[in-house]
Amino acid sequence: MASMQKRLQKELLALQKDPPPGVRVDEASVTKSLSTWQVDMDGAPGTLFEGEKFQLLFKFGPRYPFDSPQVVFTGPNIPVHPHVYSNGHICLSILTEDWSPALSVQSVCLSIISMLSSCKEKKRPPDNNFYVRTCSKNPKKTKWWYHDDSV
């Protein structure tokens, strides 16, 4: 538990000091135990999401960084993307089975920006309605099936 907070403290300071373009930690949202963060994100210029603003919600368990954080889109604007469900859940392999403790909030944010940026057509995943009706609140409980590496 102590190691989780120490590492998150370091990540928070680094992200506040030198954030990647289009990424801001909402400092007011960071809870005292550092276990929940909200990150504001801008759609990258020159992509389908240019000019849009999104919020990501990170939840860290006590086993972070050995266990991946829960990451979902939250707030009024959920990006319309083939890997993002309308409830904010994201189908991205590094958030579950390809997680590594060398990844960080910053690298997850960059991966998500990159995923959005390579989108060619704004549409929801084909099984969106069914998934949103049946899924758990925790996206990590979903058995994701990663089949599309192109986006």
Binding site: K6, K10, A14, P65, S100, P101, A102
Partner: protein, 177 residues
């Protein structure tokens, strides 16, 4: 990642160093200066306790957290700097893997059956195929045949004939039984 973040002694030691060195000796997992440091064959630095915990987390899929190269307890090298902790790191759990002192390569001189690891195994699976496979695979991963004319070559020939006969007798016995 700045030096003032680290509240512990390890970080304070690096405080006098130039900013260029920042992060160079940080563990890729806890982002702190690596303690009981080990380095993977792919060159990535970790605290041994951190890496050990990661290897325990996914015991059947042990990958380097940074580059996803294969990694394991036997494939990391401990780093010993001068000074540092006076305590023997091995008294801590989990113990850091030992440094290895591989024997220097020695190419000349003969070899014997003893250290060549001569093994035999018999299996009665899909007879007779399993039997052939286990009885005649003399050459996989083991030293090649001795040069002709040497006593070893002669010995090998005798043994190979002997085992062929044992195999034939065994097959005969199986057919009769």
């Amino acid at each position: 990642m700045s030096a003032d973040v680290t509240g512990d002694g390890a970080g304070a030691e690096g405080g006098g160093g130039a900013d260029v060195d920042q992060g160079t000796y940080e563990c890729n997992i806890c982002l702190d200066t690596a303690r009981d440091a080990v380095v993977s064959l792919c060159g990535h630095l970790f605290c041994w306790p951190c890496l050990h915990q990661w290897l325990e987390t996914r015991p059947n899929r042990q990958l380097c957290p940074v580059c996803k190269a294969g990694i394991s307890r036997d494939k990391v090298i401990p780093l010993y700097g001068r000074g540092g902790s006076q305590m023997d790191p091995r008294t801590k759990t989990p113990p850091r893997p030992q440094g290895q002192r591989p024997e220097p390569e020695n190419n000349h001189g003969g070899w014997t059956f003893g250290d060549g690891g001569f093994q035999m195994s018999f299996g009665i699976g899909a007879f007779p195929f399993g039997f052939f496979a286990s009885a005649f695979n003399f050459n996989d991963g083991r030293p090649g045949p001795a040069p002709p004319g040497t006593p070893q070559a002669e010995e090998e020939r005798v043994l190979s004939t002997l085992f062929l006969w044992i195999a034939l007798i065994f097959m005969f016995w199986l057919l009769m039984a």
